[in-house]
């Protein structure tokens, strides 16, 4: 991991994360006309952000095409588009992000506000989430990195058992420490999201259980290392074995259980035919995520992965220094 010693790389990582946070909060959410119609189905005229392209400029009832190409009339109620916000002019072909409300009586949309003109990119609107959907760029990548961190730790544990090179054990410990941090952050972001999305901070949903168990495995791993009174080598071997056994359980909890029982997370019950398919890993092999969002998500995953690898690298070096000092004494 020599790359983590170059200040330039770390600085770029820092900048990249700042950019990611900025994009996560600045990008407007743009849905489609059918989203707006669906949201007002329950009788209340819900205001929906929608991304649409201007087809023809008119004084009453502009014709727009939304992001799927569906045409729709937006009722301006007599005002002209330029009167909204600080936009100076609108031309045919302009992409606008607007707040609209579906009016079932006139079968047209009423314009509430113009949010953005010609945005660089928009987030798709996910039903029922609205602005909370931005958390997908934080919570989901953190959970993925938490699990990848656990796998990395287990791989180093296996390497230690096979090769008996003590450096592998140090790396396993460092990976576990970093993984614990990310698991904690994934739990916190998920719990806050759950509070605003499903009502309570904790729901004992299978995926929530799996991340909680990952926390318990980490805590048991660290407790095991500190409570055993054996030689360093024996302690390392015992901890490595526990890491591997914990991996088996985590594998079951992470991938199999949430797909068999009913779950609040997407994908619950899909393997026994009781729910919709999971967005990413499912039997049909097709992904059900919007392209923009999925690209942003993968970029976040890679950024967070680098942060984890950096944490692991520093901690490994600290452990090496500690052991070298202990030897000299």
């Amino acid at each position: 991991m020599k790359i983590f010693r170059s200040n330039i790389f770390l600085f770029c990582l820092c900048i990249a994360l700042a950019v990611q946070v900025f994009i996560a909060f600045e990008t407007p959410i743009g849905g489609s006309f059918s989203d707006a119609v669906q949201l007002s189905m329950n009788g209340v005229q819900a205001v929906t952000p929608v991304k649409a392209t201007l087809v023809s400029v008119d004084s009453i009832g502009e014709l727009f095409k939304d992001l799927y190409g569906e045409p729709g009339h937006i009722n301006l109620s007599g005002k002209s588009l330029v009167s909204y916000g600080s936009f100076t002019s609108f031309a045919k072909g302009d992409v606008l992000v607007m707040s609209i409300a579906y009016n079932p009586s006139t079968k047209a949309f009423d314009l509430v506000d113009v949010i953005r003109e010609n945005p660089i990119m928009t987030f798709p609107m996910i039903q029922g989430l609205g602005e909370l959907g931005r958390n997908i760029l934080f919570h989901v990548p953190m959970s993925m990195v938490a699990f990848i961190a656990f796998v990395i730790g287990t791989i180093y544990s296996i390497l230690y058992l096979v090769k008996r090179n003590y450096d592998y054990d140090r790396q396993a410990r460092a990976a576990s420490a970093g993984g614990f941090l990310f698991t904690l952050m994934a739990t916190v972001t998920g719990s806050i999201w759950a509070r605003f999305s499903w009502g309570t901070f904790w729901n004992w949903d299978p995926r929530e259980i799996s991340i909680f168990i990952l926390l318990l495995v980490y805590m048991a791993y660290f407790m095991l290392r500190s409570l055993l009174e054996e030689s360093e080598d024996k302690k390392a071997r015992i901890a490595a074995v526990y890491n591997i056994i914990g991996m088996i359980s985590a594998f079951f909890l992470m991938f199999i259980l949430p797909r068999i029982t009913q779950s609040l997370h997407p994908g619950g019950g899909s393997l026994v035919g009781k729910g919709a398919e999971a967005p990413l890993l499912n039997l049909s092999g097709k992904t059900h995520i919007d392209r923009t969002l999925s690209n942003m998500q993968w970029i976040s995953v890679i950024l967070f992965l680098f942060v984890f690898l950096w944490i692991k690298d520093i901690y490994t070096r600290i452990l090496r220094l500690q052991d070298k000092r202990a030897e000299e004494i």
């Binding site: 010693r5 770390l10 820092c14 994360l17 700042a18 946070v21 900025f22 996560a24 909060f25 602005e131 931005r134 934080f138 950096w310 944490i311 520093i314 070096r317 600290i318 220094l321 070298k324």
Partner: protein
Amino acid sequence: MDFLEHNSLYVVGIISAVIWLGLFTFMFAVERRVRKLEQTDTHK
């Protein structure tokens, strides 16, 4: 309170940016110390 409600998204963003900055400052400080220790060790 009103200001917070209207710009709540930016408040969350600022808090998040502060956390990242704090994390990175801490990490950089530790990194510098570890690097110094490593150099003095190999020097011995």
